[in-house]
């Protein structure tokens, strides 16, 4: 009787990287090898395969080890000449020999007014440096192939390799409310005024995010849409479009002006991947009359 043998190569269903089938976890994104179909929900969401405690990822000559399960730590072993960048408040510890300095960013004033971190920090190897966020959740490793781009909601990004270019763009997701005719309108940004955009250049790169709670991903077909809570959005492919959607449940009076008479949604439209986190903050919608919104905003009155 012949003994079944493992295939020569294993293709990670999460990030697409090819790896040795005898590995216990994918060296590119850390997801366990041999992820079963059970991680998909009936509705089509894929639960992020939890990165095994102490799983190691490789980028260039450097490594990243994911440690812990409740509030995981990304422990990066930088080789000489390798570089990562990050927002400074995520720094947990570092070897004394690791050099840390500010990374120049364009649009400092705009970032300041938008509440984005004004300073992006970069660290140079050799040595160890570790990062964590102050919230229970999951660490997500996203390997970026050359030329691949991904959009990430603000304050979700943890660390990226030096080969990944960083940019940011205006989301154009906003609405205005007005309490009285004498008052000026107040502008709200449900997913923030800006989003981070990461693109791998000539070399592949690694992007590490932190999702609060659990993380779920689905791939939308061209034209396929789904409504998600704006603050649950974690990241999306650049091809995925976004617009606001207001929904008014039946049997309510809009004149009540309470949050309960208006649901605020983010409509995402394929093609491409979209990821959500299960723990998200509630949006403060005072329920006042809408005074302004982008042209592509939609509404539904039941």
């Amino acid at each position: 009787m012949s003994v079944p043998t493992a295939p020569a190569r294993y293709r990670c269903p999460w990030c697409g990287a090819e790896t040795d089938p005898h590995n216990t976890s994918c060296p590119a994104c850390g997801s366990p090898v041999d992820v079963r179909a059970t991680v998909a929900t009936d509705s089509g969401w894929y639960e992020l395969p939890p990165i095994k405690d102490m799983a190691k990822l490789q980028f260039g000559q450097s490594f990243c080890q994911i440690e812990g399960m409740y509030v995981p730590v990304a422990d990066v072993e930088l080789a000489a000449g390798d570089r990562v960048y990050f927002t400074h408040h995520l720094l947990l510890w570092k070897d004394t020999r690791v050099v840390v300095e500010a990374m120049p960013l364009k649009g400092g004033w705009q970032r300041l007014f938008a509440g984005l971190p004004l300073i992006m920090t970069q660290a140079f190897g050799p040595g160890h440096i570790a990062f964590s966020r102050d919230e229970p959740g999951e660490m997500i490793a996203i390997p970026l192939h050359p030329g691949q781009t991904i959009d990430v909601r603000e304050h979700v990004f943890m660390v990226a390799t030096g080969s990944v270019q960083y940019d940011w763009f205006n989301t154009d997701i906003w609405f205005q409310t007005q309490q009285n005719s004498d008052d000026g309108p107040e502008t709200h940004y449900p997913i923030g005024m800006y989003m981070d955009r990461f693109q791998a250049g000539q070399q592949p790169g690694l992007l590490i995010l932190h999702g609060a709670g659990n993380v779920f991903v689905r791939t939308l077909q061209p034209g396929q849409t789904i409504l998600i809570k704006p603050t649950a959005l974690l990241y999306k492919d650049t091809a995925v479009n976004m617009n606001l959607h207001f929904e008014y449940p039946g049997n309510t009076w809009q004149s009540w002006r309470t949050w309960g008479n208006r649901y605020l949604w983010l409509r995402v439209t394929g093609p491409g991947r979209v990821a959500v986190q299960s723990s998200f903050t509630q949006i403060e919608d005072p329920g006042y009359n809408l005074a302004g919104w982008p042209y592509d905003t939609t509404q539904q009155q039941w």
């Binding site: 405690d53 080890q65 500010a102 229970p136």
Partner: protein, 269 residues
């Protein structure tokens, strides 16, 4: 071949009978290998739900995994002390007293608990803190001296002497992320049990004499008193705004150092 007489716990160094699956002193599993990162940090033992340990004539059972509860079954005459806001429930029979502390005004001004409470058996009393994290059991052998971040200790057995130590240096006080004082726990001739709660995951590293590591001050959880802590500010210059700085604590050995991966301070009072 000589049969194994005793198993030494690699977390707390206590001796256990050869058939033990978990350490009787700290609850660490003896049948799984340690989780140690390449950089040398060891994860605190992940305690199995409902793990029970004993100290003196009492037992302590760890319940739950996300926000775990420490349930203590106090023997006659045994007692534990704690900050009153971590108390979850207790039997009627458990007597409650207030521990006399020196420097009450200084403690009040420094934001430390003004009152430390003592629960005396017989009876059951349970404790938990209001955040996701891990319970860390540190059996203290005679002659040990341990410094703990303020408000991080959950309970200690009455054989342990409790005091506090002032953090030296204005920079350490202002930028150290934990105020003016640290709790200090000392054992003399009798061993004791110290139970901490770390936010998120807890990691420990043994620093060699003179070895240093830079740590986010808010992540510091505990250390042997031989480990020194000095906060250093590193300037991050930007052309537009003149620069900002990050504060990191230089921890220098010899001794153990414990950190927590979630370092936002949760006010519970």
């Amino acid at each position: 071949m000589e049969p194994i007489q005793r198993i030494q716990c690699e977390w707390c160094q206590s001796q256990n009978p050869p058939n033990a699956v978990t350490c009787q002193a700290c609850g660490a599993r003896l049948d799984v290998k340690n989780l140690v990162s390449d950089s040398g940090w060891r994860e605190a033992p992940r305690l199995k739900d409902m793990t029970e340990i004993s100290f003196g004539a009492s037992t302590c059972q760890m319940e739950g995994e996300i926000v775990p509860v420490a349930e203590v079954n106090l023997g006659q005459g045994d007692s534990v002390f704690f900050e009153h806001h971590v108390l979850l429930w207790k039997d009627d029979s458990v007597r409650m007293d207030v521990m006399s502390l020196q420097g009450g005004m200084k403690r009040a001004l420094a934001g430390m608990p003004f009152i430390v409470t003592i629960a005396t058996g017989p009876g059951r009393v349970a404790f938990s803190r209001d955040a996701t994290g891990e319970l860390v059991l540190l059996p203290l052998h005679p002659g040990m001296e341990m410094d703990v971040r303020e408000h991080a200790f959950l309970l200690a057995s009455h054989h342990i002497n409790y005091s506090y130590t002032r953090i030296q240096g204005l920079r350490n006080i202002l930028f150290g992320g934990q105020g003016m004082f640290m709790d200090r726990f000392v054992t003399t001739t009798t061993p004791g049990l110290l139970l901490l709660h770390g936010y998120g995951n807890v990691f420990e590293r043994k620093l060699k004499p003179g070895e240093s590591i830079m740590v986010e001050p808010g992540a510091f959880l505990y250390k042997d008193s031989t480990v020194t802590m000095n906060v250093e500010t590193q300037k991050l210059k930007t052309g537009l705004f003149g620069g900002a700085g990050i504060n990191l604590a230089r921890m220098t050995g010899p001794g153990r150092l414990g950190i927590q991966s979630m370092y936002l301070h949760h006010h519970t009072e």
